[in-house]
Symmetry: D3
Subunit: 129 residues, 6 copies
Amino acid sequence: MNADTTTYERGQALSETVNPGMEQALAKRYDALVPGLSRMVVEVPYGTFYSRGVVDEKTRLLATVAALTAQGGQTKPQLKVNIASARAVGASREEICEIIYQMTLYGGFPAMINGMNTAIEVFEAEDSA
Amino acid sequence: MNADTTTYERGQALSETVNPGMEQALAKRYDALVPGLSRMVVEVPYGTFYSRGVVDEKTRLLATVAALTAQGGQTKPQLKVNIASARAVGASREEICEIIYQMTLYGGFPAMINGMNTAIEVFEAEDSA
Amino acid sequence: MNADTTTYERGQALSETVNPGMEQALAKRYDALVPGLSRMVVEVPYGTFYSRGVVDEKTRLLATVAALTAQGGQTKPQLKVNIASARAVGASREEICEIIYQMTLYGGFPAMINGMNTAIEVFEAEDSA
Amino acid sequence: MNADTTTYERGQALSETVNPGMEQALAKRYDALVPGLSRMVVEVPYGTFYSRGVVDEKTRLLATVAALTAQGGQTKPQLKVNIASARAVGASREEICEIIYQMTLYGGFPAMINGMNTAIEVFEAEDSA
Amino acid sequence: MNADTTTYERGQALSETVNPGMEQALAKRYDALVPGLSRMVVEVPYGTFYSRGVVDEKTRLLATVAALTAQGGQTKPQLKVNIASARAVGASREEICEIIYQMTLYGGFPAMINGMNTAIEVFEAEDSA
Amino acid sequence: MNADTTTYERGQALSETVNPGMEQALAKRYDALVPGLSRMVVEVPYGTFYSRGVVDEKTRLLATVAALTAQGGQTKPQLKVNIASARAVGASREEICEIIYQMTLYGGFPAMINGMNTAIEVFEAEDSA
C-alpha cells in the first residue's frame, strides 16, 4: 500500500466510523456534477486533516465550533455537524456552549446568539432521539 | 464585596497576571477618546469571559486561535496576542500550528497561510527574547 | 451603590424599558447552558454600551443598522431588532432605508437588498400590529 | 443622446433582455421607501458594469458565481440569479459547479457545499420548467 | 440638462468640494486599466449615493464609519477617508470614537481596536497639519 | 501507478511547472511545525483542484481573482499570486482589472480599490523585471 492509497483508505475508515454512509450520499448528490467530489471529501478533510492526531479530537472539534460560530450564521449546517461530532467524542453541552459564548468577543453578539441557537437545535435532536 | 465589584476586581487580577500594565496602557491611549474603554476591557473580556473557568485556558485559547485564523489576516494583532497567551499556558508550537492548519477547511488556504506566518512571528520573538 | 452595581442596574433599567421581559427570556432559554448569559447581556450591551449617551439613540441605532446590513444576511435576526428599535426612537422608514441603501457601496448589492427585505418585514409587522 | 442618457438606456435595454420586468418589480417593492432605487439598479449594475463588454458574459458570470460562493450562504438569492444567468449565456452545469468547487480552497468547505446546494436548486427549477 | 447629465455633474460638484482633485487622481492611476473608472466613482458614490440628502451628512458618515469598522481592518484606507469626512462635516472625535466603540458588540474586539487605531491616525494627522 | 499516487505526482508536475521550487520552500518554512504541510499543498490545490481541467486555466484564475477581491484586502498575498498566474496563462491586464472592477457590486468599493492596487503592484513588478 503506497502513501497515497493510505490517504483515501484512512479517510474512508474515519468517515465510515464517524459519519457512516457519507461518501455514498455525497456521491449520489454531487458526483455527476463534480466528478470526484465525494472522493475528495474522504481524502482531504477526513484522510488528510481530521486524522492527523496532533491534537485530540475534542480539542480539534471545539476549535472548529469556535471558528464556525465566529464566521456567522451562514455556516449553520456545518456548525450543527461539528457540534454533534464534538458531543460524540465526549464534549459536554456546557463545554460546547462555553466555546460558542467566548466567541461574543471575536464574532460579536449576533454570531454568538446564532451559535447558541444552533447548539440548542442539536441538543433538542439528541433529546428526541 | 458584591458580585459586580468582583467583575472588575476579577478582571483586574487576571489581566495583571497575564498582561501586566495592560489597563494603564489602554487608559493612556484610548480613555480620553472613549471614557471607560480601559475599564470595559478589564471587566468584559477579562472579568466576564476569560475568567469563567468552564473550559481550561489552553482549550479556550486554542479555540480563539482557530476563530481568529478563520476570520483572516485582519485580526493579526489579536491573533499574535492569543498565540502568545496559548504558549504561556502550555500549548506547544505544534499544537497551535495544528489548530491553524485545520482552519484550511473552514477559512480557506489564504487564512491558513496568514495564520501560520503570524505564528512564526510569535515563535521568532520567543527565540530572540 | 458602587459603580459596578450601577452597571447591572443601569442595564436592567434600560432593557426593561426598551425590551421588557428580555432578561427573563434569555435566562430561560440560555442560562442552564451558559450560567450568567442573561446577566451578561444586561450588563454589557445594555449597561455598558447602549447607555453611554455620547451619541443620541437614533444615531447610534442607524449606525448599528448600517453595520449589520454590511455584515450581510447572517445577522438578519439582530438587524430586525435594531430596525424596530430605531423606529421606536423616532427614525422614519425613509431614514432607515436610506442608511441601508448607502451600504450598497460598502457591503455590495446583495447585502443592501437583503437589508431592504429585512426592513420591509419589520414595517409589515408594524402595519399589521 | 448624451453619454449619461445612454447609461440608463443601455442599462434598461440590457435588463429588459436578461431580466424582463425587473425594473418595474423593483420600483413597486422599493421605490416608495428609497426613491430612485429601481433606476439606480438599472443604471449602475446593468448600465455601468454588466454592459462594459471587456470580458465575455460567460467569464464575467462565472467570476461572479465564484465571488458569491466564497462570500458564503448569505448571498444565496443573488447566487441563484447569477447561476441562472450563467446558464442563459451558455455555461454548462459542469462548468458552473466546477467554479463553485474551486472555491473550496478560498472560501472553505461550508461555502463550497452551500454553493453546490444552491446550484442544484437552480438546476432542479430548470428541469421542472 | 437631462437627469443623467445631472448625475455626473452633481457628483463632480460634490467630489470637487469634499475631495478636490479626486477625479483626476483616479483617472491618472486607474483609467488606462479600467476605462471609465474615475467617471464611475464620480457618478455612483458621489452623484448617486452621497448627494441624496435624505439623512444629514454627519449621520450618513457616522453610519459609514460603523460599517467599515465592523467589516474589519481590511477597509482601513476607506475608514480613514470617512473618518476625515465625518470630521469635516462637524462630527467630534468623541462622537466618531463612540460609534467605533459600539461596534465591539457587532464586529468584535479586534475590529473595534483596529477602528480606534485608525481614528487615532486621522486625529494625529489633524494635529500635525 | 494507482490513482492516488497520481494525485501527488500530478500536483508536483503542475506546481513545478507554474511555481518551481514551491514545495521545497513550503517544506523549509512550515513542515517542522506542521509535518506534511508542503505535501498537502502539492496534493490538494495542485493535484486535486487546479489540475482538473473542466474549465480552462484562464477562466479558473479569473474566477479566483474575483473571489479573492471580494473577500477583501486580507487575501492580498494570495491575490498577487493568482493575478500573476492569470497573466502567465494569457489574461491581459485589462481583463484582470475588469474582473476586479466588477467586484464593486459584490464586495463593495473598498474591496475593488484594494484589488486594483494589488493588481498594479503585480504589473509594476512585471515592468521592472
